[in-house]
Symmetry: C2
Subunit: 310 residues, 2 copies
Amino acid sequence: MTNVQFERIALIGIGLIGSSIARDIKELGLANEVVVSTRSPATLKRAEELGLGDRYTLSAAEAVEGADLVVVSVPVGASGEVASEIAPHLKAGAIVTDVGSTKASVIAQMQPHMPEHVHFIPGHPIAGTEKSGPDAGFPGLFRGRWCIFTPLPGADKAAIAKLRHFWETLGSNVDEMDAEHHDKVLAIVSHLPHIIAYNIVGTADDLETVTESEVIKYSASGFRDFTRLAASDPTMWRDVCLHNKDALLEMLARFSEDLAYLQRAIRWGEGDKLFELFTRTRAIRRSIVEAGQDVDAPDFGRHALDPKRP
Amino acid sequence: MTNVQFERIALIGIGLIGSSIARDIKELGLANEVVVSTRSPATLKRAEELGLGDRYTLSAAEAVEGADLVVVSVPVGASGEVASEIAPHLKAGAIVTDVGSTKASVIAQMQPHMPEHVHFIPGHPIAGTEKSGPDAGFPGLFRGRWCIFTPLPGADKAAIAKLRHFWETLGSNVDEMDAEHHDKVLAIVSHLPHIIAYNIVGTADDLETVTESEVIKYSASGFRDFTRLAASDPTMWRDVCLHNKDALLEMLARFSEDLAYLQRAIRWGEGDKLFELFTRTRAIRRSIVEAGQDVDAPDFGRHALDPKRP
């Protein structure tokens, strides 16, 4: 019996996500050949050292020749360029997907280049860490996580089913929704949190009255939780901000409005308003833990991991 | 040889912090007798079931009789009431300390009640988790963390040294600063992060276009990091907001100003400004990890803890 789902898979981009997919494909034996491509010679060399594929090339066009599945894992701002480069070389019947964090923009960039004879199915695995590059990937990253497809109207059902099966084999649950809704959902669950995290770390860095060394020493009291997100890949996140602008600006406006309400409650000593919010938010964490989307260990279980603390 | 540092220690309040101190005292043998007191009969009963002390009483006044060290671990808004209750019963030469997250307010509430013959040394251990109550405590919570003293001018050096030795035995590093500076530092490293976390969880909860179930399902993409802080004790955090108002409002104003700058950069597509900030913030996380104040494992090592994911 074989686990092979695709004869040849081309991975365009081999960072945290691309290299985690590569590791899963290899471990599970899902393809007979994996071709790895990236624009950076240093990254390509590293991918080869890590043995992430069977062939390696700096040319995305060359990589997709004869591939049955093409997975584009690049910063969303680079999607259009990749699409135009690979389009003339895509095999008839190939499935082309991506892993970008914004979907309307990726569709707008890629769809116009896609030939009639391929199946373009935009996708977004909701998984990752704050690390980036091919060394940061690991097998099992997608296990227990969601992957969202935003297929275009009229997309081929069989191709969607085949791609769904692929992601399910990687351990993910697959959801489908339209790109606009995806972008709104991700704006609140991912993009706004990252912007806020980057922002608060910047605010702390700029203070004159509190030194950076103080911020670092006492960070265990809350601040350090934000620094994880604020350590994420700057290129990826710059592109996300620029490519999900409308939804993100809407969420930012709501966030600021709510914060002004809290600020006013603090100024006027309205403890009841604060207590009401602070109680309501506890329930959401409980639901996230129950849904298996976070660990139940206090403090993210950091005590258990830190060798200095039993 | 004995490890006893105080003949009798009275713990007023036995939540996450108080009960962690109780566990350390017992484990390390730092007192001959520990008296536990709390206003809530249910909590007192639970403390007794957990064996956190040697004697248990609902009366703080009774608890402090004859104690050499009194540790007040209650929401900061209750400090004044506790101080007025215990003051007439304090033993001459006793050290009275607290663990409150705001210091100027605690001093303003407690100091007027303190008799001449005791040593009042306000303190704040920078440690905790999002859980609360006597069951949430554990031995070693303070190990590798900082504890800040904000002694009043003219405070007894020998008493400070004795209390410092106590916290150092619990594994903490002790710093001293004035209360006003403490309150500014904590406003940025702890109070603002909590407010922001509570706020963003509230914003997500209020959306009409994105369901709560979607927020929960896809929370691994960033949002869930905020929910830990937003699950913290509502009473404690209401009090912190009300009792460190000025410093917190200052930090909120700066945060909002910086966020408006980011928002404008997003609106006008100024990628360079975003990239500059997103790069700068990476360095701070690195420093926090190097300082031993966070674990280096990607994603807070949640992969390692989750039994569903190898």
